[in-house]
Subunit: 278 residues, 6 copies
C-alpha cells in the first residue's frame, strides 16, 4: 500500500558503503571460496509488524544481482515470532556480505512499524488517526515514514516545505495570530494549509477564526474535549505532546482527531529479526 521512497536506492548504497568501505568484506573474501553457494532464511524472533522487506531485497541485489530473494510476506503484516519472512540463495560470500546491512534496515523499519501499530490499535474504534512527525532520524526520514504507513498511521508534512505550521514563536515574531496567518496566506503557496499551533482554548478560538487547521499542543484531556466541541468538522484538529500508549486511547476517544506521535520514529526499538544460513 505504502510506496517505497524515491531515494531508497541511495540509502541502500550509502549503508553498504558504510559497512564495506573500500576494502570490502575481508573475512568472507579471505575465507569463503568465490563459487560457494548457500541458502538462508530471514526469521522473526519476536512478534511484530514487518516493514522493509523490499529494502532488504535491494540490499542483497545491490551486493550481488545474481542472488535469488523470495519475499514471503507483505510489508505491514503482523507476524508472530518464528515466522519466516524471506528466503535468499546464491553466492555465500554475497549473502554474508549483505546480511548485516540488510538486517539493519529491516529491524529498524519493523521496529517502527510495530510500535506504530500499537498506537494505531490503541485508537481502534475511535474516529482519530495517528500521524508521524518530523522527529525522525537524520537521513532516514523517507524510509521511516514508509514504516509508519506500514504500521497503519498517516503522514504529516514531510518537512518544512510541504505545510505551513505557525508555532508560538512565529506568532510572537509576526505580531499576533492574525498577522501571522495573513502573512502566510500572502507569501506561502495557496496549495498549503495554514495550520496554527495553540496551547489554550483562548488561542484556539483566535486560530479557528483565521487558520485552516489547528495543532493543540501539550493539552490536558479536558482541553482536548473542549477543543473538539469548538472546532467540530470545520477544520482539521491535531493534538500532540506527551502522547503515550497509556494516554492515546482516551485522547483518541475525545473526537475526530489527528494525533501526532514523535516516539514512533525517534524511539522505536528494533524488532528482533535474524538471518539463518541453512
Amino acid at each position: 500500500m505504502a510506496e517505497l521512497p524515491v531515494d531508497v536506492d541511495e540509502m541502500v548504497v550509502r549503508a553498504l558503503r558504510e559497512d564495506l568501505g573500500a576494502a570490502g568484506d575481508v573475512t568472507s573474501v579471505a575465507v569463503v571460496a568465490p563459487g560457494s553457494t548457500c541458502r538462508a532464511h530471514v526469521e522473526a524472533r519476536e512478534d511484530g509488524v514487518v516493514s522493509g522487506l523490499p529494502v532488504m531485497e535491494r540490499v542483497f541485489l545491490a551486493v550481488d544481482p545474481s542472488l535469488e530473494v523470495g519475499i514471503l510476506h507483505e510489508d505491514g503484516a503482523a507476524l508472530a515470532s518464528g515466522a519466516v519472512l524471506a528466503r535468499v540463495s546464491g553466492s555465500a560470500r554475497s549473502i554474508l556480505t549483505a546480511e548485516r546491512t540488510a538486517l539493519n534496515f529491516l529491524t529498524h523499519l519493523s521496529g517502527i512499524a510495530s510500535l506504530t501499530r500499537r498506537f494505531v490499535d490503541a485508537c481502534a474504534g475511535t474516529e482519530s488517526v495517528v500521524l508521524c512527525t518530523r522527529k525522525t532520524l537524520p537521513g532516514l526520514r523517507s524510509l521511516e515514514r514508509y514504516a509508519v504507513e506500514c504500521g497503519g498511521a498517516r503522514l504529516h508534512r514531510f518537512g518544512l516545505f510541504d505545510g505551513v505550521l505557525i508555532k508560538d514563536n512565529h506568532v510572537a515574531l509576526a505580531g499576533g495570530v492574525g498577522q501571522a496567518v495573513r502573512l502566510a496566506r500572502r507569501n506561502a503557496p495557496h496549495t498549503l494549509r495554514v495550520e496554527v499551533e495553540v496551547e489554550s482554548i483562548d488561542q484556539l478560538e483566535e486560530a479557528l477564526a483565521k487558520g485552516d487547521a489547528i495543532l493543540l499542543d501539550n493539552a490536558e484531556l479536558d482541553t482536548v474535549k473542549r477543543a473538539v466541541d469548538l472546532v467540530g468538522d470545520r477544520i482539521p484538529l491535531e493534538v500532540s505532546g506527551g502522547v503515550t500508549l497509556e494516554r492515546i486511547g482516551e485522547i483518541a476517544g475525545a473526537g475526530r482527531l489527528l494525533i501526532s506521535v514523535g516516539r514512533i520514529t525517534h524511539s522505536a526499538p528494533a524488532l528482533d529479526i535474524a538471518l539463518e544460513i541453512e
Copy 2:
C-alpha cells in the same frame, strides 16, 4: 575525548536537505521578517548523558554562519533534567529553520550515550568493558559510534573491512576452524586480528589454539566463566548475545571481557531535549 567523524558535515547537509527540500522553510520565510532576531536555549527535559552538541552547532551554522552558538557542556557529561546545554542567538528565521534538524541529531545521539552509560555503569568495578556493534542505523554509523564513546563504551570494528570475524557460517564454508583461520591469515592483511566466533567450550578450545581473539556468542553465565578460565590473558575474549541491563553486571564480573551490546545503537530511545525561544 571522542572525535567527531570525518563525514559529519555530509550528514548535516543531508539532514537539512531532507527537512528543507528545495522549497525551504515556507512558514518562517512567509511569516518572520528577514531581519528579526531572537535568543534561544537548548534544555534537557530528562536526566541523561549528552552527545552531539558540536553536531547541533554545525546544523545551526550550516543554515546560517552568522548565528552565535554557545555550547555549555562537553559531550559525555551526565546532566540532570533542566540543564541548559547551549545557547543560540541571531536570525529568528535561521534558528526556527534549523531547530528540528539540530534536535533530531542531539536527541538521538544523547539517547545512545545515555543508554550506553547505563550499560557501562553496570560494569563498574569489574575488568570488563562494553563495546558497540555493527547493528547501527543505516547511514548514521560513524555518529552513533561517536555517541557510544560519549557514553563511555569502546569501539568494535567499524565495518566489514577493519576486522576479521570468522562466524559459524564461515567455518562451515571453509571446512573447519583451522582451515578458516589459515585462509584468513593468508588472504587478509596481517594488520587485522583473526577473531573466531564460538558457541561452546569445545569450539572455544579449537579457536583458542588457532585464532587471535574469540567471540563467545549466546552463552550462559557458566560457559562464560569457563571461557574466562580457559582463555585467561592470552587473547581478547568477547561475549555477545542477549546482553541486557539486567544481565550485564554478572557477565562483566566473570572476568576481563569485551561485552558487545547491539541495543545501545539499534534500540536507544531519544533523550528528551528541547529548544526554547526566549
Copy 3:
C-alpha cells in the same frame, strides 16, 4: 524580499563546470598574465526588471574569492537601459573566466523578472495576483521561482510534493470528484490543500462542495466571471490556460483570482545585459 534558493551554490558550480570543463579557460590562461587586474561594470542594454545580481556575485566569487563585487541595485528593481548594475574588480583572468556564466544567470533571471512584471502590472488595480507554474526549465526551478518573485508574482506549489492538485485524469481514474477528494484527504498530509481542476461550471459546483481550492482551466471570460460569483471568498479560485498579456487584464478584473501563467518561466526572452571592461 525573495530568498535565494538553498541550492544556488550547486547551480553556480554546475554552470561553471559546464563552461570550464577540466581544462579551464584556455584563452585567458594562455594570453593574460596571472597578475593582471582590471575593472568592469555590468550594464543593462534594455529596460527591464533585474534579478540574479547576488547569483552573479556568487559566480565571480566561486571563480575567485578575491574579486571585489559591488552590487548597485536590489533584485526586483525596474531599471532603464544604460543602468549600471554592478562593478567588479580584481584579477583580469578571473573576471574574463567568470563573465559568460555570470551573465547567463543574470540575463535569464532578469528576463523572467521583466516578463513577470509586465503580467503583474497588467493586473494593477485589480484584486487578482499572478502565479508561476511548474513549467520551468529543467534544473533551474528554484532560481526561476526566485526571479518570478522579483518580478512581483507569487509562488504556486514548488513541485508534485507540496500541493494536491486533482486534474481531470485523476478524477477519471479515481471514479469521480467526490471519491478523488476523499482519497486525497485520507492519504495525503492534512497540511496540503486539496485543489480540484475543472473546466466547466458544472464541474466547479461539485468541486466547490468537496475541495479546498479550485483551478479553472481554459475558461472563457464569462465562465470565469460566473465562477467568481459562485466561489466568492469561500476557497481560493485559480485560473489558468492561454493567459496572454493581452487577455490577463480583463481576467484579473473579474474578481479575486490567482492567475497562473506558464510563459513567464518557459518562454521569457533573456534581458540584454553586458559586462564592460573599463
Copy 4:
C-alpha cells in the same frame, strides 16, 4: 543525426528530483490506485521542429521502466500543429508523475530547434551557416546544443576549454593582437585554432595576418562584405552581434560566413506540446 549528450541521464534525474522532492507525487499516490493503467499521446499544439523525444522517453523510463513509450518522429522533423509525436502506456500513476518533467524538456528543446530552424531557413541558398553560442541556460548547455543541431545549425566551441577566442580585452591585456596570438600559440594546445575578435577592418587586417580564424562582432553589412573580400577562403570568418531573423538573410548572402546567434538558445520560447490521456 545529432548525438544525445553524455550527461543526459543526470539532467533527467536532476529534473525529476526537482519536481518530486523526497515526498513524491502526493496527488497521484493518494488518488490513483497502484495498478491503474492508461494510454496517452503527446501532441504538438503549434507548428515547429521537434527536439527532445528521446529525452522525454528517458524521463518516463526513469520514473517507471515498465512504461511503454513509442516515439513516432525523429528529432529534427518539422511538424504541424496536431501531429502526434509519441505514445505512452502503462501505469497511470507513473505517467501522471512523469508528465510535467517530460514536457518541460520537450517543449524547451523543441522551442530552440524551431527558432533555430527559422534562422537556418533564412540562410537557405547562401554559403553561410548558423552557429550557436555559449549564451545557454545554466546547466542545460549540452542539451541545448543538441536542440540547435536538431534545428539544423552547427556547433561553436562548447565552453572556454575547446577553443581559443581572443577578445578585445585579451588583446588589451596582452599588449596587442600580435602578442596575444603569440602567447596563445605558445601556451594553448596546438589542437585549438586561435580565433581573434575584431570590430573593424583595420583590426581584421592585423588578425588576418596572425590568427587562424576571425570573429567580426557588431559590424554593419558593408563591413561584413569588405571582410569577406579580404578573408576569402584563407581562414574561417565568423560574424556575430545583433543577428535577428530580419537581418540574417542579407548577412548570410554576403559570403561564406559562420553566423553565431545567441538568441536561439537564450531567448527561444517553448513550443506548445501537450500530453493527452486517452
Copy 5:
C-alpha cells in the same frame, strides 16, 4: 582470484568523464557514421603479467553496452609480447571513443602486476612474502591493490583505518613504546593488531614484549637476520625500506618475513599494450 574493488565502476565513469568531458569524442562523432562497425583486438607489446582486463571491459561497456568484449586471459597470467588479450567488436565510434581510457587502466595495472611479479619471483623458494604499501597513486588505491594481488603479492592495510601502526613519531608523542601500545589497545578496536615500527634491535626487543607485530624499517641484512632470530614465529615481522629487486632475494632468504615494497605501486612503468583495429 583477486576481487575487483567495489568502487571500480566509479573509477571507470570518472576516467571516461575526464577524457570525454561534456562535449564527447568530437572526432569520431564528426567523421565516423553512427552505424559503422569494426572489430579490434588488444595485444601485448612486451612480456609481462596482465591485470585489468575486466576493468577494460567495463570501460567499453560503459561507453556502449552493445559492444561485444571477449576476454582471452585471466588477470594474473604471464604473457609474452604478441599475445592477444581480448577482442572487441561493435560500433566503431564506441570502440574508438573508449580505446584510450580502456588502455590507460590496462597498461597501468599490468605495469604494476608485472613489476610485482618480479619482486615475488625474486622471493621464490623462501618463506617470505611481498606486501604492497599505502604509497599508491591518489584515487587509484583499490585498483592498484588488485593489480598487486594479480602480481602475486599480498595486501597490507588499505589505509589508516584498518591497522594500527605505531611509528617512531607516535612513540615519541605518546612517551615510549609501552605507553603507545597501551593507548592503542585501549582506544583502537581490538580487531586490529598493534604493529610497532622499529629501526634497531634494542627497539625491537621492547616492541616484541608489547606489540602484536613488528615493522623493521631501513635495516641492514644483518639486523634483519638478528630480528628473525629474536622474533621467531611469535608475531609477524615486516621489513621495509629501500627494498630493490637486487636486494629482495637475500632479505627474503633471511626468514619468514613480510616484505613491503613501495615501488611496485608508486613507480611501476606502464606495460606496453595496444588496441588494433582489424
Copy 6:
C-alpha cells in the same frame, strides 16, 4: 606559471577519503593526545624537479585548516637531494594523518616533472618542444598535465573533446583522408584544428593538402626529416611513437617539431621525498 587544475580540491578530498575511510586514522587518534603539536619538514631525497607543493598544502589544510604550511620553493624548481621543500607545524595528529596522502601527490607529480624535464633538456638548443599525451593515469589527468608543465613541456589536447585528431582508423571508416577532413570541418566546431595522423610520406602529402596539422607516428629519423622539409612552417607537425630519452635529441634537431611523449605521464617513477618530524 602553470595553473592548478579546477578540480584539485576534489582530488584531494577523494585521496583523503581513500586513506581515512570513515573510521579515520585509528593509530594517531588512539595514541596521540588531541592537543599535541609538532613541527615537520618535507625534504627531497634525490635530485629532481618539484611539482605539487600547493597540492600537498591543500592536503594538510583539508585535514586541518589550523596547520601552518610554509612552501619554500616554486613548483618547477630543480632541486638537489636534501633540499627542504616545505615546513609544516601544528597538531601532531593532523600532520601524521595527512602525511602519506600529501606525499603520494607530491612524489608522483614531482616524478612526472623530473622525467619531463629530462626530455625537455634533451631538446635544448633545438626548435622542438615536448608535449604530453592522453596516456595519463585514470582520474589524475589534470594534475599530471600540471606536472608536465612544471617540467617544462607543453600541453596537447586535454581529451577527446578539445581537438580533432583523425587517425588511420578514422580515415578507413570515413573513406579516405579527404572525406574524413571534410566531415570533420563540417561537423566539428571550427575552433578545433583538424590534425591528421600519418605513417608515411605519401600519406603526409595528402594530409598536408587537407588538414590543419599533422601527426607523424612511428617514423624513422629520415622520414621525420623529409616531413620537416615538406611541411615547413605551413602547419604544425607533431611526431610521436617510441620517443625515448636516447632518441629525442636527434628527432628534436630535425626541425621545428611538436614531440609527444607518453612515458612522461604513464611511466614516471616517483621522486623520493620524505616528511621528517623534528
